[in-house]
Amino acid sequence: MKEAKIVTRDLTLHYGLKMALNSINLHIPEKEVTAFIGPSGCGKSTFLRCLNRMNDLIPSVHIKGEILIDGLDIYQKKIDVVNLRKKIGMVFQKSNPFAKSIFENVAYGPKINGISDKKKLTEIVESSLKNAAIWDEVKDRMHDSALGLSGGQQQRLCIARTLAVEPEIILMDEPASALDPISTGKIEELIFELKKKYTIVIVTHNMQQAARVSDHTAFFYLGELIEFGKTRKIFTAPDIKQTEEYITGRFG
């Protein structure tokens, strides 16, 4: 296994009194794809949101334990959350482009980060769109509204937007669950390309998708991490009976 990019130690999370994550210990390897699977409500999204401190925005949340990224505890007081989020891109289930042009959607992040040189911005936008495998489809309509794109295109545009700020980690929460099979296939192929440069964590309720795209799989159940291992191992001979039952559709 490659070196761990993200490590959690006894990560426990409560929403008010309700425990959503129970003492999770996980090593997420660098420049590989790690998939989180498990039935609805088992804590996958909650865990994902811990990794870029998005849960900070929810007042009732209480977190115990540690999350280390590149060896640094991201919940330390001196951590700059803005910088942290720059390092970590996030793609959601529902694509959420701004009601602006395709170009502006991708240029937005770099601009906020202080890049104003027009030529530089154009370069960033083009390479981000290329890396998100959507360039050919939009290169002649860069100034059209992003909202005119299809769902699958919007999702890849959102990935381009994420890439434009040069993150190291990309978190994806059910990125293809609202897409048709062809668009889903494109996103999956894209993930294969992206893992050469980025550490990717993907939440999916589609087990077959986890099998196809990921190198490692974590199976969550009722806020617990039941099993974590190589995807090829989990899907051919998991160690834990509950995992076997879940992936074969016997419960959940």
Binding site: K186, A211, R212, R232, F235, T236
Partner: protein
Amino acid sequence: MERHFELELQKLNRRVIKMGNLVAFQVHNAFDALLRGDVELAEQIIENDRKVDKLDTKIDKLCQRIFALTQPVATDLRLIMSSLKMNNDLERMGDHAVTIAQKSEGVSEYRDIIDELHIDELVKMTDMIVNDVITILNTRNTAFVKDIFDLAQAIEEKAQGISAKIIEEMMHKTEVIVVATNLIVIITAIERLAGYSTNIAESIVFIVDGRIMKHKKKNFESPAGTSASVTETPAEPAPDQTGDPTSEATPSEG
């Protein structure tokens, strides 16, 4: 859309073809060892079987992984199912090459009997069928599949003729019982090689056009206008064939 999955299928194809070449090489050497009484070569074949087994395991694991991770359908599904079967057949063929190599020592002093029974002709036909089927495995050209079935039939008949002669010999001369038993084992292994070759040909038909040939190769028709022959039609079947229609069934030992 370029599928990442394509690379896995290509890898599988390469491995099955490698397995085919390796096994054809083992079979060819086993025949050489038999006809020339080459004990050293026989030892080498037995040693080499480890490579066959290793590759067999590798292919099984790869198929298992592709099944589990990619949910293959249609042509992809047929390819993987068939690769698994062909791999199994090839591994068994490797075992039969070993059997022939092992028994070749026990018969090496009986050149005259081997010559008298024309075992070399049977060997030539079987070497040919194995090579032809590996060629089809490489080219996926199912035009020649009919020739494989015909050749297998001819091998079957010839082998039965030889076996019948051996048994007759045994009844008259008790001193040949040991060598005769070894020869029967060799002939049986040769028959199996032909049977597995037809299995593989059937698998290739299944990959290419989805037809299941297993229980109806008698009515097999090559695609229109492709009756070309990959091999010369072999010598006449032995005159004293047993004519048992059930014996044509392909081998199915575990």
